[in-house]
């Protein structure tokens, strides 16, 4: 990427010097950002990455001077185009916001006022920043800008309320709103985190275009290193309120110097990784709480290169690695670490041979009736419609195998999990588990043996455990319920064993969920699922709510237990990176249909289903060696209430061959090895497609 438009004026757009921010709570002062430096030149895009709680969003809010009543800047300065922002009055600050500095937010739906039309919300930006502009001029400008962010039918959008358009469109509206007054600086706070991956790809492309077209400087905040690679030229990695490492993106990605940056890359399932030969290496320990930070280096307690007396005294300052290129690092020992010869002993596993078939779904189908209570529907006689959540699903899973179901929101993957668990019953086909057809056996009618042999790990760590019971009693209840032990003391012993299994201290049995971190709660969730020695565990996005380093540890743990117990794991996820890393077989779903299935190697290489191809292309990859084909899907995900006829993917398919796709459902091509693709395009043609991802040597 070019270094942006050269500017005559050399003053940086944004210059943050030694910034210190604190929140003042009842417990006292809690530093949120410490000694932070960042320079942003005109037209430059800088990424700010880090795990949750590292202070990256606080930096953006400080620039906007919007820290709430209990946050304030306690040291250092922020200069915007050379001017110290601390000297600005409230009114001057107001004039700056929205016109010179604009922001794009994580949740577009929440960021827009639900009771005002989009038009109203857009035109008030120029109306309040440009004296003398008329309403008509402002409206015209807004319509133009909506066209610029590639929204179809801008006039219609102007008259809509936010809830009437899709999430991706909402984010485009927020971007248009930010650009309306031609800002010099754009702050993007996780702008695509709430969106589906194919929608995200479109937004990321748009953001990159904006940078080029308007010469806007951008501060891109994200937890996703892959996204930063796609959008920024420089990057700053934050850890626990401090910048750990900052530098040009290639230098940092190809030669990370800070042990934390290094560790972070080792936690990301990039294409080179695989669970047998190159497993992920989680960072040990956990993020310190803001009021429990260690002296010296915040990363010290988790670092392999920690040296007492040097890493745990005083304050460690940023040191230049390469001053000319702006690469700097906060590490006392950075020039003593020889990364080339540093080998961490990692366990290498033998791939497992899958055993006998445990689960067979045969044309399993799940429809939900939905009552449409609008008058139009009543008159048309369509008041009850069917949501076709799962349409004739056929696949199988074997003992000890990891089968991943992957797809975006609304694809029906979670519905399938519900039917499997008996929380819903199938409306057609069969679902045979351990030789019993359980498709229409609700959970209440299942035997304790069936219940115990099929358990689930849930997505949201804050939801998975009952807040009013201790950890021990929750695991103990499962043990009692499945009739494994009845004696109180034996149950306690078994709870301790399960806690050992998930590598949690035994005294956690007496704690309550709110005393645990997200990763620890997820571990308890895993312990609970494995309490009854299940034959199969369903994991519904078990790590998607966790930070990268925690997620790597939890994924590793899950696989470890599964391998030891030879459990079948059904892994439900939207994250192709994780899926490629840990699945043996992959099932790709779209709008309730299976589009493609096969072994992981088969699915991730041609022949692809066009949807799989687009999905693969959309996933950001944090590896500079990887080259990707760019495929951006047009349009939004269709509603499951009103799925397209013919092939469900035809409305967005870049390889659509014509009327055939709109009229008849696609045939399923099978290869000898069991790889199958549902598409009208002949298999031989699909074989000719070049791979989406190529890794340079």
């Amino acid at each position: 990427m070019a270094t942006g438009n050269a500017s005559a004026d050399d003053t940086p757009v944004l210059e943050i010097k030694d910034l210190c921010l604190s929140y003042f709570t009842r417990a006292g002062e809690i530093p949120a950002v410490i000694d932070f430096n960042l320079t942003l030149r005109q037209g430059e895009a800088v990424g700010l990455v880090g795990e949750s709680g590292c202070g990256k969003s606080t930096v953006a809010m400080a620039i906007m001077r919007y820290l709430g009543h209990n946050g304030s800047i306690v040291g250092g300065s922020i200069r915007f185009k050379g001017q110290d922002m601390a000297t600005l009055s409230t009114e001057e600050m107001r004039q700056l916001r929205g016109s010179q500095i604009a922001m794009i937010y994580q949740e577009p739906m929440a960021a827009l006022n639900p009771s005002m039309t989009i038009g109203e919300q857009l035109i008030e930006v120029p109306l309040h920043h440009e004296p003398g502009i008329t309403v008509d001029q402002a409206r015209e400008r807004a319509v133009d800008m909506l066209a610029n962010v590639k929204l179809p039918d801008p006039v219609l959008v102007m008259n809509s309320y936010p809830h009437q358009i899709s999430g991706g469109q909402q984010q485009r509206v927020v971007i248009a709103m930010a650009l309306l007054s031609g800002p010099s600086l754009l702050l993007l706070d996780e702008p695509t985190t709430a969106l589906d991956v194919t929608v995200e790809a479109g937004i990321v492309e748009l953001i990159a275009e904006i940078g080029k077209k308007f010469g806007t400087s951008m501060l891109y905040i994200s937890h996703n290193l892959g996204l930063i690679l796609d959008t920024c030229e420089r990057v700053c990695v934050m850890y626990s309120g401090e910048a750990a490492e900052v530098g040009p993106i290639r230098d940092l990605f190809e030669n990370p110097r800070h042990p934390y940056t290094h560790g972070l890359f080792n936690c990301i399932p990039t294409p080179g990784r695989d669970k047998h030969a190159h497993p992920l290496m989680p960072i040990r320990g956990q993020l310190p709480l803001p009021h429990e930070r260690p002296p010296g280096c915040n990363f010290g307690p988790r670092c392999d290169f920690f040296e007492p007396g040097r890493c745990d005294v005083g304050q460690i300052h940023m040191q230049p690695v390469d001053a000319a290129r702006g690469h700097a690092i906060r590490c006392a020992r950075w020039n003593e670490i020889d990364w080339a010869s540093h080998e961490v002993a990692t366990k290498v596993y033998e791939p497992m041979e899958p055993g006998e078939v445990v689960l067979v779904a045969d044309e399993m189908q799940k429809y939900y009736p939905v009552h449409d209570r609008s008058l139009a529907a009543l008159i048309a006689g369509r008041s009850v419609r069917q949501v076709k959540a799962n349409e004739t699903l056929s696949f199988e899973a074997r003992k000890g195998e990891t089968v991943a179901i992957v797809g975006e929101s609304g694809c029906g993957k979670s519905t399938f999990a519900k039917v499997l668990m008996g929380l819903e019953t199938a409306t057609g086909g069969t679902l045979v588990f351990n030789d019993d057809d359980i498709g229409d056996t609700a959970v209440r009618e299942r035997t304790p043996a069936q219940l115990g042999s099929l358990q689930m790990v849930f997505q949201n760590p804050n939801d998975t455990l009952n807040p009013s019971m201790t950890i021990g009693s929750q695991i103990g209840r499962v043990i009692r319920k499945f009739g494994i032990e009845a004696d109180r003391e034996k149950i306690d012993r078994r709870v301790e064993k399960l806690l050992d299994l998930v590598k949690l201290p035994r005294d956690f049995a007496l704690r309550r969920p709110r005393q645990l971190s997200g990763g620890q709660k997820q571990r308890v969730g895993i312990a609970r699922a494995f309490a009854g020695d299940p034959a199969m565990v369903v994991a519904d996005e078990p790590v998607s709510a966790l930070d990268v380093s925690v997620s790597a540890a939890v994924t590793g743990l899950l696989m470890d237990i599964q391998r030891r117990a030879e459990t079948t794991l059904l892994f439900i996820s939207h994250d192709l990176g994780v899926v490629r890393y840990l699945a043996d077989r992959v099932v790709v779903m779209y709008l309730g249909h299976i589009m493609e299935q096969g072994t992981t190697d088969e699915v991730f290489a041609p022949p692809y289903h066009p949807y799989t191809e687009a999905l693969l292309s959309a996933v950001p990859i944090a590896d500079t060696k990887v080259k990707k084909k760019r495929i951006i899907l047009e349009g939004a995900l269709p509603s499951v209430l009103d799925p397209p006829k013919g092939c469900p993917f035809h409305t967005r398919c870049p390889r659509k061959i014509g009327g055939l796709c709109e009229e008849s459902p696609p045939p399923i091509h099978h290869t000898e090895s069991g790889h199958s693709i549902a598409c009208h395009i002949p298999l031989d043609e699909l074989r000719l497609v070049e791979p989406v991802i190529t890794t340079a040597a």
Binding site: R94, Y105, N113, S115, M116, H128, Y161, H163
Partner: protein, 310 residues
């Protein structure tokens, strides 16, 4: 939207029907008892039988119910025992008096509580917020009958500014309305103010208010245009439901100040076992309550675009 109107209206009719059945069962299931109440306790069994015969009480209960409902719909509520006159002659003028009292109360209470609630919710945790909150808790804690006594003691006997009863013997008088209204407002405004405050405070925390501020809009516009429109949806419903509470409140206040309104009439009827009057008053009260509830629902839908256009 149209369907919603129809549905709400049907709901309202259904509730009224159920309530009328309940009232009928409660008060008229035992004809013997009705006769005792109408004719008095010292009548002979023969007299009562004769009265029951003449008034059609020997028919099946459901036939009587239908007849009663039919009369009700035509505005014929039967005769009051105490006043020896058709209930409808007494009821409407009393209802009008209560209407005046209610309107005056709302006229004072709504602007007051909305203003205080919005001010408090705008800056949650501020000094103003705390004092408004505590004041509203204190005023809501003093029951109407207690504040009526205390205010009469203060304004009537101690200061001598206001009259202590509101019988309006010499025709309508604003000055006699002051104390009843004051008592009702004192007891009610706190609740509405607190609801408004909660709604406003919640809205001020939302990301879209942050968006509005970070768009560089003047604070006044953020409040007036972005916050209020969303923050006043919930209080609207609360205010409409307050009419239901007010119907309870007027019973106490009218009794305390001898105001000739509907609440005093109901109480009077109840103390005198004047059953047709009780029936009529209860039906009217429930009708007012259900009608406002229906209006509240419709209004809520109208104010909320997320429901209006979906």
């Amino acid at each position: 939207m149209l369907l919603l109107l129809v549905k709400r209206f049907a709901m309202m009719v259904a509730i009224m029907l159920v309530v009328s059945i309940l009232l009928f069962l409660l008060l008229e299931l035992d004809p013997e008892g009705v006769a005792v109440k109408v004719l008095g306790p010292y009548t002979s069994v023969e007299q009562r039988m004769l009265w029951l015969e003449q008034n059609g009480y020997n028919e099946a209960a459901w036939l009587r119910y239908i007849g009663w409902l039919g009369n009700l719909l035509q505005g014929d509520f039967g005769d009051s025992i105490k006043y020896k006159a058709p209930v409808s002659d007494i009821l409407w003028s009393r209802l009008a008096n209560t209407g005046i009292l209610g309107l005056a109360t709302f006229g004072v209470m709504i602007p007051l509580s909305l203003a205080l609630g919005v001010l408090a919710g705008m800056r949650e945790g501020s000094w103003l917020d705390r004092s408004i909150s505590v004041t509203s808790i204190v005023t809501t804690s003093v029951p109407e009958f207690a504040s009526a006594v205390l205010l009469v003691f203060l304004f009537v006997f101690h200061l001598g500014w206001l009259p202590g009863t509101s019988g309006m013997a010499d025709g309508f008088s604003w000055i006699e309305l002051v104390l009843p209204v004051l008592v009702l407002v004192l007891y009610d405004f706190g609740y509405v103010a607190r609801m408004t405050r909660a709604s406003m405070a919640e809205v001020m925390q939302t990301p879209y208010i942050r968006t509005a501020i970070l768009k560089g809009l003047p604070y006044k516009r953020v409040i007036m245009r972005h916050a209020l429109r969303n923050a006043l949806i919930a209080p609207f419903t609360v205010i409409m439901l307050q009419i239901n509470w007010l119907l309870s409140g007027v019973i106490v206040v009218e009794f305390a100040f001898s105001y000739k309104g509907f609440g005093a009439l109901l109480l009077d009827a109840s103390l005198n076992d004047d059953i047709f009057l009780i029936q009529a008053c209860a039906m009217v009260a429930v009708f007012v309550a259900v009608a406002t509830q229906t209006l509240a629902d419709i209004g809520y839908t109208y104010l909320n675009p997320r429901i209006r256009f979906s």
